[in-house]
Amino acid sequence: MLLIRPLTFADLQGLERLAVISGGRMTTLPANRDHLNELINRTRQSLRKEVTQYSDESYHFALEDQTNGEIVGVCGVDASVGMNTPFYSYRVDDVVHASNELQIHNRIPALHLCQDYTGSARLCTLFLDKAHRTTANLNLLSRCRMLFIAQYPERFANKLIAELQGVADSENRSPFWECLGRHFFNMDFNKANYLTGINSKGFIADLMPHYPVYVPLLSAEAQAALGQPRPDMAEVKTLLEAEGFSYRRYVDIFDAGPTLEARTRDIHTVAQNRLTEVKIGNTDATEQPVDVLISNLGRENFRCLITSLDPQHPVITSEVAEALLLSSGDKVRIIRL
């Protein structure tokens, strides 16, 4: 059984393993012990804190394989981004170049460095070990955060974004970066990405283009990569779109991967989950069990997993109850997988 729970300091080694196998392409999961330690530390502090007005809290959760205690996935959600250090995106805007006399009317897309998502909450750091990569587990890892948000809405901004990793070639090079970022950073993609992860992002302002970049001046490969997720992100994208996320022409400044957005309270799992009491015991014959995500209402003790039950008459096994730290009659949040 795989279980979602907040990160603890005991997870440092497990996290490092994930950071290494993720290959350094995830900005928020650099293979840097100090930074990973800080990730855990912020999660602990954020959970402990009584929040009336959210600010820069960040919550990270581990996906633990209960059979051996190993961490096989990690996911996170930031209460809001850009409040202390700027949060940059490129907005793809069309500029019209028209001449009446010449009867020409061109719409030229251009990239505008912007901070429009400042103040939004953010899904981040989604990584699932290959050995466990199933649709169900991906759902658990991604949507557990939405159950957490549903329970603690005051802790999150009312817009939620998710950044999908952009296209890379067979040698893991981003064609967008090679065409644009490299000129301004004088370093390779992984280094820039790593620095963004561990640094304050302040350096981006120093190095990035301030003027709009006209898309037609980019290489064909870079243009093709604009707003495209890496092929292996397709499943995540489908999942998020089903949750109500949509692409509004904002892309990552490094690899041009799309940023998806949704109103937090309208997200499917946030809005449609069922708050109900559970019984502990054995399934009886009248039930019609389906696979569901189920979470307790805990904060520091937040737990979430996949089980099979009848949402109208939820009964869970004592094993599940134990994993979720539940007693009979406790409330849970449930949503169909």
């Binding site: 170049h97 001449s99 061109n106 251009a110 301004f184 006209y214 001046l217």
Partner: protein, 346 residues
């Protein structure tokens, strides 16, 4: 003897003939009866109107006094950009640096500007191939400085001259291919034709925001501020007079604009007044062997020619009857002189 003088009403035939010779690339004087007639008519105005128009094209022709043939033409726009905007890209530098990361990047940029609005412009220079010898090109081009020295109130204090931009063997401009073409739905030939109708059309479609040149093709980057081979001698001539490339280029082909304050131009700065003594047998003097520009000082009677001079006394020079006749002056007339070329060599 060659003399440069303002264009006149009876120059129509000569102008028409020049227009035929210039060829299709020379957009300011096109091979077309009506256009030539209109051009001539307009060119007469600034020499007669009082006060002179703010925006005027002063046109001069070079005439062979022996044959009375017109062999060249040159012009000065008194002010550009006062009706239609005058566009340039300005080449700028941005430094993107982070001490934290030890990264330091100089990035070259192109920004569209109208910075030369109101400036005077050297324009419309053409000399028939047969007359391209004996420094007659220098006389034709630099005679304009003598006119400007004489009538500074008719011109702006800043002067520019646009140099044709680099193009390859096939006549295609890499600058256009790398930049402008992306913003047009037109091929080069069509764009070229439109460009010749005026920069306004081009500017309407060109990007209004600053361009990072490092995103352009290497060829396009290399042709920023680069002069067309055929224009290189003209550029050198103007640079020797103190005109400088100051980072402004043509929005269409990336050719450089040369710029100077009028008063900083050598021929203008160094020119001075002397009176003339007309003699057939000038005494040998110190300036022997050096060519001078000599010009008269009245608007409609403006004449400029080129001759060696000798000193006849304090602020007094000897000229030959030939020169006097070409300039249409008499003994004792005050003229403006300057050495044809800068004396500085090292």
């Amino acid at each position: 003897m060659m003399v440069v003088r303002p264009i006149q009403a009876n120059d129509y035939k000569a102008l028409r003939e020049l227009a035929r010779k210039t060829g299709p690339g020379f957009t300011s004087l096109q091979d077309n009866d009506e256009q030539v007639a209109a051009k001539l008519e307009a060119a007469l105005i600034p020499f007669t109107a009082t006060p002179p128009p703010e925006e005027a094209l002063y046109l001069f022709v070079m005439e062979d006094t022996d044959t009375h043939e017109v062999v060249g033409i040159c012009g000065i726009e008194s002010a550009v950009g006062l009706t239609d905007p005058w566009y340039n890209y300005r080449v700028g530098t941005l430094v993107h640096a982070s001490r934290e990361l030890k990264v330091y990047n100089q990035i070259s940029t192109l920004t569209i500007t109208n910075d030369h609005t109101g400036y005077s412009e050297l324009c419309t220079l053409f000399l028939t191939p047969e007359a391209r010898h004996s420094k007659q090109g220098s006389l034709l081009s630099k005679s304009r400085f003598m006119f400007m020295a004489e009538f500074p109130q008719r011109f702006n204090e800043h002067l520019i001259a646009e140099m044709r931009g680099y193009s390859d063997d096939k006549g295609v401009s890499p600058f256009w291919e790398g930049l402008g073409r992306h913003f047009f739905s037109l091929d080069f030939a069509e764009a070229d034709k439109i460009s010749s109708m005026g920069k306004v059309f081009i500017a309407e479609l060109m990007p209004k925001n600053t361009i990072y040149t490092n995103l352009l093709s290497k060829e396009a980057q290399g042709s920023i501020g680069k002069t067309h081979e055929a224009t290189t001698p003209a550029r050198r001539l103007l640079e020797n007079e103190g005109m400088r490339y100051t980072g402004y280029v043509d929005i269409f082909d990336g050719g450089p604009t040369l710029e100077a304050r009028v008063n900083d131009i050598r021929a203008i700065q160094e020119s001075r007044y002397v009176k003339v003594h007309i003699t057939d047998t000038p005494a040998k003097g110190e300036a022997e062997g050096e060519l001078y520009l000599i010009s008269t000082t009245e608007l409609c009677q403006f004449r400029c020619c080129m001759s060696m001079l000798t000193r006849a006394g304090n602020n007094l020079i000897n000229i030959t009857p030939d020169v006097a006749s070409a300039l249409n002056i008499i003994e004792g007339t005050t003229v403006r002189i300057v050495r044809l070329s800068s004396g500085r060599r090292f």
